[in-house]
Amino acid sequence: MKNLSLALLCFPLLFAGCFATLKPGADAVVVRAQQAEQMAFATFDTYLKMVHAHEAKVKSTAPAAYDFAEWLRAKQPDGQPRGLAMIESLGRVRRAYAANRTTEGKSSLLSALSALQSSIAETQKHLAAVQPQPR
């Protein structure tokens, strides 16, 4: 059940690049960043909803998953939870690059994109761990 669920979760990401044929004039890196922001939000939000719905059980049976949820929820200096702050950070870098398309800006955007994609993958790993197991 857990391996199947993890496979199902990763399936759309494996084919993400194949789904979209970009419209003329669209910068592939900017669109990829937009995709990553939306995927990150969907992933973090779904994960935290599940942990919230089964809080006591997750805390006792999957403490690592619970700690990761707390890590995502930790308030940052701007008052936003860390998970949302990471998405906003990529958004800022994306907008900065879109306004001024330099090689350095593109490099910064790709770095920020890679960092967020790592967090998405980490969250999906924990998402598989918090699903109900057969009794």
């Binding site: 669209a26 939000f41 809080e55 936003q80």
Partner: protein, 67 residues
């Protein structure tokens, strides 16, 4: 028959839990698919709407730290 009736609350509770998780996962996969189908850069209005959505999410109960 009686053992089944005795086990029914547990069966229903598990089914409800699995169905709830299944529904969340189905919604999640659809959101991933929708994100992957983007084919253009956002307009200012779309980007502003997205930023507001992120800000609003920070107020939801499941996003509040416990400690």
């Amino acid at each position: 028959m009686q053992p089944i009736l005795l086990a029914l609350p547990t069966i229903l509770s598990t089914a409800k839990e699995v169905f709830g998780v299944g529904r969340e996962l189905y919604t999640y996969v659809n959101k991933l698919r929708s994100a992957a189908q983007q084919d253009a850069e956002w307009t200012e209005a779309q980007d502003a709407h997205w930023q507001q959505q992120i800000r609003d999410a920070g107020l939801e109960p499941h996003w509040q730290p416990r400690n």
